[in-house]
Subunit: 234 residues, 2 copies
């Protein structure tokens, strides 16, 4: 069955104290769109962070202040090169500048990552499920660079209502051979798919992925963090 | 506008000498599906490699033979742990076991990566465009692990008819601020999105991503390889 990825338009500017679930449902309603059972609502963390007040004053031309904010947000510094700092966040994610981002933050400001993006996803999901009466999953995303490959991709930093990893252990291929691939990072693939309609410059902060038919799950995006002991590249 | 991701079903087993473009078009026709201008056809390299004869005999219970094949395919070895070898391929991609994969290969066999996946994508695209008369892009995918994050995701290893990186340099956010994000790996996001309908165990080796409205481009997947000099994690 085909998958559909529907952009959520017209959400507008988000401010501290706003209710993201209500903003998204209102935007969908204005476009005559309703959610259905099994929809995955994908939201950029940017509006989640803003609604949660995770904004700091940060002048555009003050690299020292930027560095201080990054160091305050980071749990560990992995690498530095020029203005770029590769960090581990308190959630365990490895990304540039501890997620401190000035894009779409407004002049003289930067947006931080949510304190607990899994909890943010869970709150948005519960509110949307209660309002609509349908079963949903929610994925909160950020845009990360990768080692070895150029360009950025959206990944899941918060998840509710689904398992972020699809466990294929014991599954066989079309020849009956047990698969070498054991876990697919489906929440990251969902985040990447949603970014194809969201974009960075378009002001579309959310999308609905319809037709995935995931089972109900109660995983967390932090399940996607590879333990340092298993990681060959730290 | 919404994006649609359509699985290409019923392709069946692929053998050396088969024409992948024709197999995909036949499968689409049996499902009463036609391609339209701007469609991105995403194909797992597995069937491309098989059609190109990139198959080796490899017993399931012979780790030494497996290692020999991996070392022959790899341009460099980055890390080893147990049966896992992280390699640089001749194309420049960094992945496990130089892409040598026994899943869906058939008993006692392994599938290798195409010699030049960009050229493979280009041939498939030209054949499909000539047959259908519509303008297409083609992405050939593989399933890669990532440092720091658990689970595998599909990425682009061959591209034709599009730019794999969307250049946002000079683009402004909704506040008029020039974006910090400069390049999005759109071909990798397309590959990840397509994997949501393809899967590893389902025997669906291709998908059509419709509604992306990419400009025409002549990039290559090797554009996605980050030069070692820019990479902080080798």
């Amino acid at each position: 069955m085909a998958l559909t990825i529907i952009p959520v338009r017209g959400v507008g500017e988000v401010s501290p104290g706003d209710d993201v679930a209500t903003l998204l449902l209102d935007a969908l309603r204005r476009d005559d769109l309703s959610l259905v059972d099994g929809d995955v609502v994908v939201v950029t963390h940017k509006i989640v962070s803003k609604a949660e007040g995770r904004i700091v004053e940060l002048a555009d031309d003050d690299p020292d202040a930027h560095r201080a904010v990054v160091e305050r947000e980071a749990a560990a510094i992995l690498r530095r090169r020029g203005p770029l700092t590769i960090t581990k966040t308190r959630h365990g994610f490895i990304c540039a500048n501890a997620g401190v981002d000035r894009s779409n933050a407004g002049p003289g400001r930067a947006v931080l990552l949510p304190v607990d993006p899994d909890a943010s996803a869970h709150r948005i999901r519960l509110r949307m499920e209660r309002t609509t009466g349908v079963r949903l999953a929610v994925v909160v995303t950020d845009t990360f660079g990768r080692p070895w490959r150029r360009g950025l991709v959206d990944v899941a930093i918060g998840v509710s209502g689904m398992e972020p990893l699809t466990d294929l252990r014991g599954t066989t291929d079309t020849h009956g051979r047990v698969l070498d691939v054991t876990e697919v990072a489906v929440a990251d693939e969902v985040a990447a798919a949603a970014d194809l309609v969201m974009g960075k410059a378009t002001g579309i902060p959310a999308a609905v992925v319809r037709g995935l038919h995931l089972g109900v799950g109660e995983g967390r995006a932090t399940d996607l963090v590879r333990p340092a002991s298993e990681d060959l590249f730290r």
